[in-house]
Symmetry: C2
């Protein structure tokens, strides 16, 4: 095997939030050493890292020193300056590449690229000034960059806050996306290795509340026709995007079983956390295997799985979760201050019939806190 | 729930070898912080610990400061002075207890205790001076303390090295154990929580070479009658030993399907590593749940599993393992110098029919290096 980095090599991870921490734990289990880079000195990944650097994501010199000090570089944080990362890539080993990152950082670019490779999206158009909009426009207006977890979005439903939209437009272009009358939202984690093998994790049906992922449900009885389309489109994206590692992809599924791609996250994704308990190999394991040049593994779902996010306001309920779901694996990221709406952990249940839990009083109360 | 330590609490682990590292990773996944204590500054657990102390296992003052600095104490290293640990237990929170440790540290005490609680062992007697032995004695002569991985054992087969035996006797008493005509060796990990619940992991059939564990095979078709005896005896040991956490127990299984207990390891055990991939919950997870006062979980075997140890002399073969078994999870502990016979890692395969791998040319060559 060429380009295989053996255990003992050091993996540099840009971003040391919970995704970085879980990547680090996977890498260290396999015998790799982990160096992490993040501007936040309280980053939860630092506690497990072999070494770390506290510096800004825009600090070219520090980033350059960091990427040159490790055997392979990866990133878990998608809002890093892609152009800077491209320059760094020329001076280090970054098999994950920057193609999908640079594409997905701009929603307009992302949707144009998806359409160009034959992946359907909702209809959309770029909004560069207020003249590009009329009061009759309907849809979802989003910032083209730096938005996540529902931030930077405006609903054009006849009651929009036009002052806020104009203020946002003054900072960056927006994208107007048509409403999608979807039946449900799914996401999928696709993995691709240096040898070109593509493996797709079982898709999860997601429930967002106020733009933040609340639950991901993965069952073995997922609609076969929809699954085939998802696997097909995810494979197209992984190959056209020269993916090495894992990428999360969100789709809307219409009443007719058609799928439209919503957005890409060129890194491990919250909706794939269930794979740590539900599958024979986790999204973090696959990512580490891929970026170290090792073959990624076939993926099996052991059992139907449900993942539920734990936000800052849920933290006083941790003991209640343990009591209510003694069979759950409760992950807590140890991120410090439990701010409202901040992702502090998640818990996963793997058992037949786990979808029933979605209808439990416990989950209903959990949603009320979202 | 009383006595539940919630995520954010700090777990102090005495011993920072691979067992400590894997315990730490499990604890950190759940949001606990981990402080580790080991005399070896290169301990592999230190790389992932939130904090660590380098000091001798016999350093009372350092140990006392350590155990008092954490919310709960556990140990992964069984050759610590149990009497000292008992004194420390009085000044800290050590739910794991010292009963099983103090019992298992002395092979004579261990076998007497097992017999006393109704668990059969091979016949044995204590050897305190050379007058207690005759040249006609047959069996295995072992040091009563500090032996592991086959160290400190003499075969009384008519060709024993009597000078070495006398030298050993000068240092400590020995135990003479009858040969056991066993059909196979198994071990089992038993877990017990503070509420008294006992759960037993599926037993593994073990293959030792030169006294060191080479392979552990766990299959769903294990003999039901033998399994019932193992679960029964393991439960007796867990309850009589006031276990909180996990304990490894080795048994011999005779041709008639009878079992005799061989030895105890009151902590996670090498033969239970398969549980990380093969089961819904690992031995490390169960241990952390138990010592933090949380209920341990029901245990399911997802798939037949084979674990193979990687010793120092196997390290140049890591790339060959990756090529031969792309579906394996290869764990490397990152312990530094790859000394002959030193446990440096292991790999686990989880798939139906995995027992076939035991007959492969690859495993045959692997055994040759043991």
């Amino acid at each position: 095997m060429t380009n295989v980095l053996l255990p003992g090599a050091t993996i540099g991870i840009i971003g040391a939030g919970q995704l970085g921490k879980m990547l680090a734990q996977s890498a260290q289990k396999m015998g790799y050493r982990v160096a992490m880079y993040d501007p936040n000195p309280q980053s939860c990944g630092f506690a497990v890292a072999n070494s770390y650097t506290v510096a800004d994501f825009s600090d070219h010199d520090q980033l350059l020193a960091f990427v040159q000090s490790v055997d392979v570089v990866t990133y878990e944080f998608e809002n890093i300056d892609g152009t800077l990362l491209d320059r760094l890539a020329a001076n280090s080993y970054l098999p994950q590449g920057t193609h999908l990152l640079l594409t997905s950082q701009d929603r307009l670019k992302e949707k144009n690229w998806l359409n160009a490779i034959g992946v359907p999206t909702v209809s959309f158009r770029g909004i560069y000034s207020k003249e590009d909009l009329s009061r009759e426009d309907r849809g979802v207006l989003k910032t083209t960059r730096w938005g996540y977890d529902g931030k930077g979005q405006f609903l054009l439903d006849g009651q929009a806050d036009w002052d806020a939209i104009e203020a946002s437009l003054a900072k960056q272009p927006l994208i107007l996306e048509a409403f999608c009358e979807f039946a449900y939202e799914v996401s999928v984690i696709v993995a691709r290795d240096l040898q070109g093998a593509v493996k797709v994790f079982p898709p999860s049906v997601n429930e967002h509340i106020h733009g933040v992922l609340c639950t991901s449900l993965v069952t073995g009885d997922f609609d076969a026709a929809v699954l085939a389309k998802i696997v097909d489109q995810a494979t197209v994206i992984a190959e056209a995007g020269h993916l090495v590692g894992v990428c999360g992809i969100e789709f809307f599924v219409t009443q007719d079983g058609d799928i439209v791609a919503n957005e890409l996250a060129p890194r491990p994704h919250n909706s794939g956390h269930y794979s740590m308990e539900g599958c024979n190999v986790s999204q973090f394991d696959q990512h580490i295997l891929a970026i170290t040049g090792r073959p990624i593994r076939d993926i099996y779902l052991w059992e139907d799985s449900l993942m539920v996010n734990i936000l800052g306001q849920h933290m006083p309920q941790i003991e209640a979760v343990i009591e209510a779901f003694p069979e759950a694996m409760v992950h807590v990221y140890d991120k410090g201050e439990a701010k409202e709406q901040r992702k502090m952990g998640h818990f996963t249940l793997t058992q037949a019939g786990v979808s029933e839990v979605l209808r439990s009083d416990f989950l209903q109360a959990w949603r009320q806190l979202f």
